[in-house]
């Protein structure tokens, strides 16, 4: 098992993907101005183009996210080629690729790291619940949720990193 094990790097890929997602959300949020138009007693959502630079940033983030996905899939294919008995799926909802159950030590390490990630998530959700009381634009909540996911992945990564040495 190498330090460059894809299972160790998985949270970094996830964090990078979410960061690019945040970039595209903020880019689009600052590209357009949303407002209501009242027509025959009906409210219609209006959209006004404002800035080109945030739009370019959003597009660049989307392109980088696609490139990142391609690199990730290629890494998974490489891992599966080198480890035919421990194949991984690039996109799966039922398990996480970063979980390592190779032996009792890594099983325990994964449990310890997951526990810390879970504790962070529970506390972050409580803070988010309080923030929901305020009237922020929708994209702010999307960014906060993605930010929580990024930190949770980095917490898990920082914990697991020392076990792979």
């Amino acid at each position: 098992m190498q330090k460059k094990d894809i299972r160790m790097q998985e949270p970094l890929y996830t964090s990078a993907f979410f960061t690019l997602f945040i970039g595209s959300i903020l880019g689009l949020a600052y590209t357009f101005r949303y407002f209501d138009i009242e027509m025959q007693n009906r409210i219609i959502l209006g959209l006004e183009k404002l800035n080109i630079i945030p739009f370019i940033i959003a597009i660049v983030c989307v392109i980088l996210a696609i490139i990142l996905c391609v690199i990730y899939v290629l890494k998974i294919k490489k891992h599966n080629f080198e480890n035919p008995t421990k194949k991984m799926k690039a996109f799966t909802a039922f398990t996480l690729n970063e979980f390592n159950d190779d032996d009792e030590f890594f099983n325990k390490a994964t449990n310890a790291a997951t526990r810390i990630g879970y504790l962070f998530f529970v506390n972050a959700m409580s803070v988010l619940l309080v923030l929901l009381l305020f009237q922020f634009p929708h994209y702010v909540y999307m960014v906060i949720i993605l930010g929580i996911c990024i930190i949770q992945n980095l917490v898990y990564y920082s914990r697991m990193k020392k076990y792979y040495q």
Binding site: M1, D102, D103, E104, F105, F106, K108, Y163, Y164, Q165
Partner: protein
């Protein structure tokens, strides 16, 4: 606190961590963390280690009281 002489006996047998890990069916990291005393192995793994290092389990692992 669980103490052990895995490192000492491994050196006596001229085994590398990777070799001993392969013999016992675990990863190199597991052997490393056992040697450092940062991971307490299961009874099964302790028996496998003692078998490959040709000693009894209580010769390989012992408890030492922690000083406060």
């Amino acid at each position: 606190m669980l103490k052990n002489k895995v490192k000492e006996l491994r050196a006596r047998h001229s085994y590398s961590q990777i070799h001993l890990a392969a013999l016992t069916g675990v990863t190199r990291q597991t052997i490393g963390f056992i040697e450092k005393g940062e991971f307490s192995p299961s009874v099964t793994l302790a028996l496998k280690l003692s078998q490959h290092l040709q000693v009894t389990v209580d010769e390989l692992f012992w408890l030492e009281e922690e000083k406060n």
